[in-house]
Amino acid sequence: MIPSWLAFVVRRLATAAILLLLLTMVTFVAYWKIPNEPAAFLVDIRYATPEQIAHARHLLGVDRPLYVQYGRFVWRALHGDLGRTFTGARTTGPSGAPVAGQVVHAAAVTGSIALGGALLLFVVSVPIGLLGASRPRSLADRATAATSIVAISLHPLVVALLLQLFVASRWHWLPQAGYCSLLPQAQPCSGPVGWAEHLLLPWVTFALFFVALYSRMIRARLLEVLGEPYIRTARAKGVPERLVLLRHALPNTALPLVTMLAMDIGTAVGICVYIEAVFRLPGLGLRTLIAMVGLGLDLPMLIGITLFTGAAIVVLNLIVDVVAVMLDPTISRSPRGRTALLHLAGRTG
């Protein structure tokens, strides 16, 4: 069993490496083509002499040919160094902040939004799904069905803006915008309470976008499972209905849930961009926006975020696929397990 697992993982990681190389290359070439003067980060290009601009370009490393720049980027990236940001660069003394550190900080913010949001999503959608499946076509079921139709048509931006407008700006129940570090720091606001307060509205926005899809999916899967013979057996031998639902039926929703989760990772990144923009949380999305509209295009930061996001999506997909294989007894225990894994590798690689 071990070799097939290993072959699968190695194969996927190799495809991922090629994908990431392509992604960064495309970003590099695209930004080379855009009319843009990186020297603007160092000197005021309206007044600077050509020599000053040339010197600034040299300091930023953008005066070399594109393939040299890309080669240096790849070589450094392989050693864990993503370079330094253009923003904050100086003609004398230290240059901009290290991109790797900035990206890790941003990723912590985006991760806080997505993980908390996903947790809230499951806490809400599992009971709704259970309720719908245990009493299909009841008043509560139809009410949640109608609510999900509404929720699915709501733009996450509108939800975020309205929550911010009323809950934060009007009623002052929660902070309007900004981020608080989870770890206690020497800042005006940090620690778990401030962190959760600033993230509560983002989590609600995140969960509301997905809750309709997930609760409906859980309900449909439960109804499907409840018609199976082993459920009839459980009921016949006198298992209480509550246990039939929670112990016998619910675990069977895990596999489609995990598969769906994998498909939604890209969408979740998009939702986080909206949320970060509205609530001004310095995550990957907001940092991308700032890197694009600042003094000029902050290429090292953009490449760093692209690389990190791409890598994170690949790794998360890989984890989800492995978990799916582990959850599915028909794949991992059948003699054709290896074929199934390779099929999986071919499907998503």
């Binding site: 994908l19 992604l23 970003t27 695209a30 930004y31 083509k33 855009i34 009319p35 139709i149 509404v150 699915i152 048509s153 709501l154 733009h155 931006l157 509108v158 803006l161 309205l162 911010q164 407008l165 009323f166 700006s169 009007r170 309007q176 915008a177 498909m263 890209g266 969408t267 990144v269 998009g270 961009v273 909206y274 923009a277 509205v278 001004r280 990957l284 999305g285 907001l286 991308t288 926006l289 700032i290 694009m292 509209v293 600042g294 295009l297 953009l302 692209t306 996001t309 791409g310 999506i313 690949v314 997909n317 499907r347 998503t348 690689g349």
Partner: protein, 365 residues
């Protein structure tokens, strides 16, 4: 999936085609059956009706409203905002003048000159400049819907083309298209849309389809279409794969039909119902993306208004936080475009759902 077959075989039996005008009881084409089912589906029918009314309100209606109200969407009304630049709320009569009265003495906000006529702001004003929010919503809705429909059409055309190539030819072409769709699906579309949107800048902004569209509309259509074509491509490819080996295709090959003829006359008609359904939902998705991309500053640019830029008005931009962080909030600035987007997307989704059921060949007639 027997719609195409039913149509070809019924052509010989259909008396109308033989010049006999007597109708045969019970005969109805697949589209007529779908129409009959759709009329019975109250929610889908109401959604369709709403969309027709919306299109009427946005296209001929916007101009009509301008004439009836007596002011345009871009006319500034300084008296439509108060001293702290907070815009007026719905159903307010605003002095019909474009200039503020000169400051007299220590009075900071002098009233307009006596005898100035009023003009009606149905939904209030849209920001510090005092434009009419109702009119701007109508004109903005035009742009948003144009982008939505255009992007969905581009995505459908590209997706159908690539999906057909992949599904019909198979082999290397299928491999290439499938890997490309897998790649696109794994990437965060919005982030890429923003990067490319900022990147191409004004590249195609001024291409307006000979004055038919506003500035930047065509560019955004292309951009959104370029990042959403893979869903229809997957659907078309899957259908092509399942139809390729069927008897009617074998029959067509046997009588010597060319590959082009088989694809256009025998295979593509089967895909049309799914494309109609999917296209409706894709319009909704594209409207959502237009709002998002414009809101984040990479879509429709200022002189042109869309629902995305209306939503942005109070929030500001990435670098300069707007009024939402101050005490002078006008909730209608967010509520009006928000509700417009919500109703449009809801109606499109429900119409798509209804069309799916109406066009299902296995459904009850």
């Amino acid at each position: 999936m027997s719609t195409g077959r039913a149509r070809t075989s019924s052509a010989e039996r259909d008396p109308a085609r033989r010049g006999d005008s007597a109708p045969v009881a019970g005969f109805a084409g697949p589209w007529r059956i779908a129409w009959r089912r759709l009329r019975r589906d109250r929610i889908a029918f109401a959604s369709g009706l709403f969309l027709v009314l919306l299109a009427l309100a946005l296209f001929p209606g916007a101009k009509l409203a301008t004439v009836l109200l007596g002011h345009g969407p871009n006319d500034p009304y300084p008296y439509a905002v108060d001293a702290s630049l907070r815009p007026v709320g719905p159903w307010t009569r605003v002095p019909d003048t474009h200039t503020l009265a000169p400051t007299a003495g220590d009075e900071l906000n002098p009233p307009p000159p006596r005898g100035t006529p009023d003009t009606l702001f149905i939904l209030g004003a849209d920001g510090p400049l005092g434009h009419d929010l109702f009119l701007r919503s109508l004109y903005g809705g035009r742009v948003s819907l144009e982008v939505g429909v255009g992007a969905a059409l581009i995505a459908l055309i590209v997706g159908t083309g690539l999906g057909t190539i992949a599904g019909w030819l198979g082999g290397l072409a299928d491999g290439a298209v499938s890997r490309l769709t897998d790649l696109m699906m794994a990437l965060p579309v919005l982030l890429l849309l923003l990067m490319v949107g900022t990147g191409i800048g004004d590249g195609l902004r001024l291409w307006t389809c000979w004055g038919l569209l506003n500035d930047g509309v065509f560019q955004l259509m292309l951009l959104i279409g370029a990042f959403t074509w893979y869903y229809p491509a997957r659907i078309v490819r899957a259908q092509m794969l399942s139809l390729r080996g069927r008897e009617f295709v074998e029959g067509a090959v046997m009588i010597g039909a060319s590959g082009y003829r088989i694809v256009t006359k025998h295979l593509l008609p089967h895909v049309v119902p799914s494309l109609v359904v999917y296209g409706t939902i894709m319009v909704a998705t594209s409207v959502m993306l237009e709002v998002g991309v414009t809101f984040l500053g990479a879509g429709i640019a200022p002189p042109t208004t869309s629902w995305g830029s209306l939503l942005q008005a109070q929030w500001g931009s990435v670098l300069t936080p707007g009024g939402a962080t101050s005490a002078h909030i006008q909730p209608f600035l967010t509520i009006v475009p928000g509700v417009a987007i919500f109703l449009t997307v809801l109606a499109l989704n429900q119409l798509g759902e209804g069309l799916r059921e109406a066009l299902d060949p296995a459904g009850a007639r």
